[in-house]
């Protein structure tokens, strides 16, 4: 039986962050990587771009084909871990048993599939894996119009991909606006406008009540009683952490696997990162599940460094999102949706819409659309909790390093490390 110094379950961005971190300090310790998916590590956010035909097979890869070899990783792809014995430091796959000294769980989340009549018809998809996208892509020739359930990021990016693939799309969102976790009402309208420009309908405050068809999807009925013809329904109402492996084990869970600031679970030597983890959000000062890619990498990296004997804490937390819809940039960060007792600064001009949320003279969140250059400087104000002082008036014009207080500016101009992990 092989014993790995480091075992990693899940072939995700968090896993790569951990591997690259481990190898930056430990060149010899053995690493075993177990993934139920058969693919070389790929970029999950690219699956919609793949669907749209924008990204080729080889460009799906998140790291080069020789990555595992170069990083000394023994990768077990398509090998689902069936169980883990946390006390004995063992894990079982169909192929056998392996032992480990340190373990990282980064299995991500799985789509929430609502119970809808007709949900088992051909043409009903979820959008979470490369295989999902492949299946969808091969089904496209039969599709003229599609209905996407869920106006979140996955739903909208899928809708965009389908539009670009030539499909007529209707998006159905139960909430009163799309991207309600990320955007306020007005910025959501900006996004909706982008879709409407493409002839895409976005219906809010409603949901799919029934999917109809013989073998395949032929139409869908909405809760408002209307029915529309479609050949495809995509269910994208969210993901939930994959907790199967830790169910009924000493590993503490809440909504996700609960980790401390070192990304370590309640079981010493066992770490978790990525969409499966419930990690610390410095901005809210509490743990939460926050499925965004930069945080997954950073969390994996902190976990990896700590697995390799380092002492790092994870302080990133805050929600960050940047994307485009039909080429139109939309970024948001921090508590953009939380508006209680906050001061709001808004602007809307030819450069786009922007909204800044200020509490106690500190920026707690913002949304920018259109012109997003140098948004990172603004995000840093949020993350570093820099007092705004006179800076408020400059926010709408676009903040430069030159606008920052002298001390911070000097530190930035001379400094060289931008990661917010504490050393």
């Amino acid at each position: 039986m092989k014993t790995f110094t480091y075992a990693i379950i899940g072939n995700s961005v968090a896993a790569i962050g951990a591997i690259e971190a481990i190898r930056s300090v430990d060149r010899t310790g053995s690493i075993g990587l177990f993934s139920d998916e058969p693919h070389h590590v790929y970029s999950r956010p690219l699956i919609t771009h793949y669907l749209a035909g924008e990204v080729s097979e080889e460009k799906m890869l998140y790291r080069p084909p020789d990555f595992y070899e170069r990083y000394g990783v023994q990768a077990f792809l398509g090998a689902q871990v069936e169980s883990v014995e946390f006390e004995n430091r063992r894990l079982q796959t169909a192929g056998g048993e392996s032992a480990f000294e340190k373990l990282l769980i980064s299995v991500g989340g799985r789509p929430i599939v609502p119970k809808i009549a007709g949900g088992d018809l051909r043409g009903v998809f979820t959008m979470n894996t490369w295989d999902d996208a492949r299946e969808m892509k091969s089904y496209l020739p039969a599709v003229r119009s599609a209905m996407v359930l869920g106006g979140g990021l996955t739903g909208l990016k899928t809708a965009e991909a389908l539009v670009e693939a030539g499909v007529r799309v209707t998006v159905v969102e139960l909430a009163e606006r799309v991207l309600s976790m990320l955007l306020d009402r007005r910025s959501a309208e900006v996004v909706v406008k982008q879709f409407e420009n493409q002839g895409t309908r976005i219906l809010t405050g409603t949901t799919i009540s029934e999917i109809r068809g013989g073998e395949c999807v032929e139409s869908a009925s909405l809760s408002d009683g209307s029915t529309a013809e479609c050949q495809m329904v995509v269910l994208a109402i969210g993901v939930t952490p994959r907790l199967d492996l830790v169910q009924d084990t000493p590993v503490r869970t809440n909504r996700g696997i609960f980790v401390d600031r070192r990304m370590e679970t309640s079981v010493p030597g066992v770490f978790a990162a990525g969409d499966v983890a419930e990690a610390y959000d410095a901005l809210l000062d509490q743990n939460r599940v926050l499925p965004v890619l930069p945080n997954a990498y950073a969390g994996g990296r902190v976990a990896g460094l700590n697995m390799a004997g380092g002492e790092r804490t994870y302080d990133l937390g805050a929600s960050v999102n940047s994307t485009t819809f039909f080429g139109y940039p939309v970024v948001s960060a921090g508590s953009s949706a939380i508006e209680e007792g906050a001061e709001i600064i808004e602007g809307d001009d030819e450069n786009g819409y922007r909204r800044f949320i200020i509490q106690d003279d500190r920026l707690t969140g913002f949304v920018m659309t259109g012109e997003v250059n140098r948004a990172g400087i603004v995000l840093d104000l949020v993350r570093e909790r820099i007092p705004l002082n006179g800076l408020k008036d400059r926010l709408l014009d676009g903040i430069g390093l030159i606008d920052l207080p002298e001390e911070i500016r000097h530190k930035k101009l001379r400094g060289g490390t931008c990661c917010h992990e504490k050393h």
Binding site: S322, G376, I377, I402, L413, R414, G416
Partner: protein, 144 residues
């Protein structure tokens, strides 16, 4: 001193023609560094080639990598799909977008093949200095 010749140098270096007049007149290239000005204060900012590059952490495609040998943070424009997460992640505001049909992120690449980056060479006041090792790869002074 806010002449912005560093930007001119950078644009030319990262243009197709690499000829100052032709590049400007034909291409409208984008500079990978930016001179910030406020009254008499001015300086150039560009990628610090961070030890722990947030842009790379955030890059959804794997287009941004850090060369373990040189420490240079590279951006593979071929892989970039233009999601601008790196722009949101960079606390220095040092990543920009190219013009053209398929805009991609663009950043300082330390001018591969050159002994001294074009911006440093173009600076008439030695406000831009190439520095090695522990220090940030390109350090900037308020004198810029």
């Amino acid at each position: 001193m806010a002449c912005r010749l560093c930007e001119v140098g950078c644009k030319v270096e990262h243009s197709e023609h690499k000829h100052v007049i032709k590049s400007f007149k034909r291409e409208k290239p984008v500079a990978r560094l930016l001179v910030e000005e406020s009254g008499p204060l001015s300086f150039a900012t560009q990628c610090r080639h961070c030890d722990e590059p947030a842009c790379m952490f955030g890059c959804i495609t794997g287009a941004i990598t850090k060369d373990p040998e040189t420490g240079i943070v590279n951006l593979n424009a071929e892989k970039c799909i233009g999601c601008w997460t790196c722009i949101l992640m960079c606390p220095y505001g040092s990543i920009t977008r190219t013009n053209g049909a398929r805009p991609t992120a663009a950043k300082c690449d330390m001018c591969p093949g050159r002994e001294v980056p074009a911006c440093v060479e173009a600076c008439p006041n030695r406000a831009l200095v190439l520095m090695e090792d522990e220090e940030p790869a390109v350090a900037l002074e308020d004198a810029a």
